[in-house]
Amino acid sequence: MNLDFSDDQKFLQEEAKKFLEKEQSVNRNRSVLEHDENIDIDLWNKIVGLGWTGIRIPEEYDGLGLGHLELCVIAEELGRYLAPVPFSSSVYLFTEAIINYADDSIKKEMLPKLVSGEIVGTLAVAEELKAPSAENINLTFSEGKINGTKIAVPDAEIATHAIVVAKTDSGASLQLVDLSANGVNIEKQENIDESRGYFSITFKDVESKLIGDNSTGWELYEYIINQAAVLFGYEQIGGSQAALDMAISYAKERYAFGRQIGSFQAIKHKLADMYIALTLAKSNCYYAAWALSTNSSDLPSASATARVSATKAYQLCSKENIQTHGGNGFTWEYDCHMYYRRSKLLSLNIGSLSNWREKLVTSLEQSNIN
């Protein structure tokens, strides 16, 4: 019985923590939030330099050839320190899609450049102000070209490439697109966490390469986000822990009515509930990490379980951290709002809480284990 990370993985996590602490990642996040650009290029370049974008990429393509568990511990630290970089878009979604479904020539062309940072990827799915589904994708692929518009595409300002979910004659497919190609028009969309950017992308007769097959693209997309949900889950528990730690330390230093506010049961019970939600989420993430790293048939239910509990934990921890800080928590100056914003961004990036609850129950119905 060993539902824990190895000593090497824990060491990697410790190194990641030290690095992000030293680089003042949380302060960098504030700076990005307050300026026009939606990324800290310097931090991103350093992360690329450490090899993290190539953790899962095989050594034959210049990557580190490590597993998903190594990616999980890195994700937890990026979440804890609010790193304002496109790691989730490029690594959990784009790179994993290439590793899973691209043919050898594309892998040979792209994977080494994902390691070196020459290529940064993202995933484009939504088209309207509602949840995307196999039925409401209107961007079309035919005769080697795509036409249509995607919205709320994360990190497209730095991304060189995107995987685009497109409608075909026989269903849906995943299309690999070079974002510098003719006919691509990227526009920034303002959002409520400007430490990460959202963009609309219009494609007009843009050449694309098919990833996977021409009809089952939606199933491939579902599998990619089932995998990514575990990694997003780790970012979310990292952020939850940071918000809880912040609330604990404020509850100890702030006095009211002649005593530390952490001595009031109204505060204690709030923080205990945050700890409970976080512990449930963390344990579910451990199990999902195992399912992800072994490609278990449990992955759909395990990743949805991790995703639902991690989303709930981060939303609870980030909002109650503000509440614990009182008026200070509502100011721009305190960091509380940065966790609140990020918790929302991470909870929506691959689909909302209610959609993941639905995916969870659907996976239980399908596995029929109960």
């Binding site: 019985m1 060993n2 539902l3 824990d4 990370f5 568990l69 809880l244 604990i248 509850a251 100890k252 005593r259 530390q260 952490g262 001595s263 009031f264 049961q265 505060i267 204690k268 019970h269 923080l271 205990a272 509930d273 700890y275 409970i276 512990t279 449930l280 989420a281 344990s283 579910n284 451990y286 199990y287 990490a289 195992w290 790293s293 072994t294 949805a304 379980t305 639902v308 509990s309 709930k312 209610s354 993941w356 609850r357 639905e358 969870l360 129950v361 239980l364 119905e365 109960n370």
Partner: protein, 406 residues
């Protein structure tokens, strides 16, 4: 990461399993009532305990001289794992073996351990725990039952309450006040007592469920020899804390129904012409219960992983009872509500019975062994390191503490 036993653990599991298969019946695949539910549960439980004792399984982590086999914590968990798959009588020895045993092991003399521990493990003698009082529940150190020293014995007067199993117990562990002039935590002393002693009267309490598993216990001039004192005079609180720590481990998960029952029920129950499981609100609840149930299960696996490596587990297990008791109450409530205006009716249907029993029993689980509120305080203070409340009873002689009864 993996869920495999080490070769030694696998071998141990096989030994457990083989013995259990030869001595008990596996539970049905579809959980129904235990076959022991309608029998003389004490007789059945004693017989099962004796069987286990003779084979060394009763208290396997205890040293050999007291009837154990010196098993490691992970072996104890493996045994518990395997035993839980079999239909065996439960609910009689948990307090004695889980709480009284460890205290006797730590504080009794060698002669006493030799005299009392083996019959406790064998199931010949049943033990109970006499802590709570009518005016001392969550604040158990506020208890007022009196102990007055008289030569080499003590005279006990007072009342205990919520004492599970007192009506069939042979011995009990007892904490009482030897000096009301001291501060409240300092004036307590700890004993074990023969429940057949003159002056002890046990009165069962009828519970919400209609059953009576706990009691009031009255002490009138009960004599206890000083040799049955555990710990020094005035160390009663320290000894009690050892016991309460073990109680939290002993209480653990709430038995009853869980998300699997809710899921199965929702698949088959009709609601306005379609399966209840098609209802969006029901699906969201089931998703949340599934996350809680698996969160607890996976937390347990993390704890086991630490034990398996010989490490001390983190504080994660402190969330178990608070989450499982609340979930039990919600799932029972869901099952009853799903029958709409007929949900009040008693039925022979075992699912309906289980939902109703869960709903009626869950309030007790949210209180026993530390209320939800006390457990949140414990998490906040011991795990998160938050300060204690300023208290009106600190540094005050017990007799001067406001009690609302003066």
């Amino acid at each position: 990461m993996d869920f495999k036993d080490t070769p030694e653990q696998a071998k141990f599991r096989k030994t457990c399993r083989e013995w259990l298969e030869n001595n008990a019946a596996l539970k049905d695949a579809s959980p129904s009532e235990s076959t022991f539910a309608n029998k003389d549960i004490i007789k059945e439980a004693k017989a099962w305990q004796k069987k286990k004792y003779d084979a060394g399984w009763a208290m396997l982590h205890w040293p050999k001289e007291y009837g154990g086999i010196g098993a490691s914590p992970i072996e104890r968990i493996i045994w518990g794992n395997e035993e839980s798959k079999f239909d065996v009588p439960k609910g009689i020895f948990e307090i004695g073996l889980g709480m009284c045993g460890p205290v006797m092991m730590q504080y009794a003399s060698d002669e006493q351990k030799e005299r009392y521990l083996p019959p406790m493990a064998e199931g010949k003698e049943i033990w109970c725990q006499l802590f709570s009082e009518p005016s001392a529940g969550s604040d158990v150190a506020g208890l007022r039952s009196k102990a007055v020293q008289d030569g080499d014995k003590w005279i006990i007067n007072g009342q205990k309450v919520w004492t599970s199993g007192a009506h069939f117990s042979d011995f009990g562990i007892l904490v009482v006040r030897h000096d009301p002039n001291l501060e409240k935590h300092k004036g307590l002393t700890f004993f074990f007592v023969d429940m057949k002693s003159p002056g002890i009267e046990v009165k069962p309490i009828k519970q919400i469920t209609g059953g009576s598993s706990f009691n009031e216990v009255y002490f009138t001039d009960v004599e206890i020899p000083d040799s049955q004192r555990l710990g020094e005079i005035g160390d009663g609180w320290k000894v009690a804390i050892t016991t309460l720590m073990n109680e939290r481990l002993a209480v653990g998960d709430a038995d009853g129904c869980d998300v699997e029952d809710a899921f199965k029920w929702a698949k088959t129950q009709d609601s306005l012409g379609e399966p209840l499981l098609n209802n969006k609100a029901v699906r969201e609840s089931i998703a949340d219960w599934y996350c809680e149930a698996n969160g607890l299960k996976n937390t347990k696996l993390r704890t086991m992983s630490a034990l398996s490596k010989g490490d001390t587990p983190g504080p994660e297990a402190s969330i178990t009872k608070i989450v499982s008791a609340g979930k039990l109450q919600d799932i029972g409530n869901f099952g009853i509500d799903s029958m709409d205006m007929t949900g009040m009716l008693k039925s022979d249907n075992s699912d309906i019975k289980r939902f109703q029993n869960a709903w009626l029993g869950a309030p007790g689980l949210r209180i026993a062994g530390g209320t939800d509120e006390i457990l949140r305080n414990i998490i906040a203070e011991r795990v998160l390191g938050l300060p204690q409340d300023p208290r009106a009873d600190k540094g005050v002689a017990y007799k001067d503490i406001p009690s609302g009864n003066s």
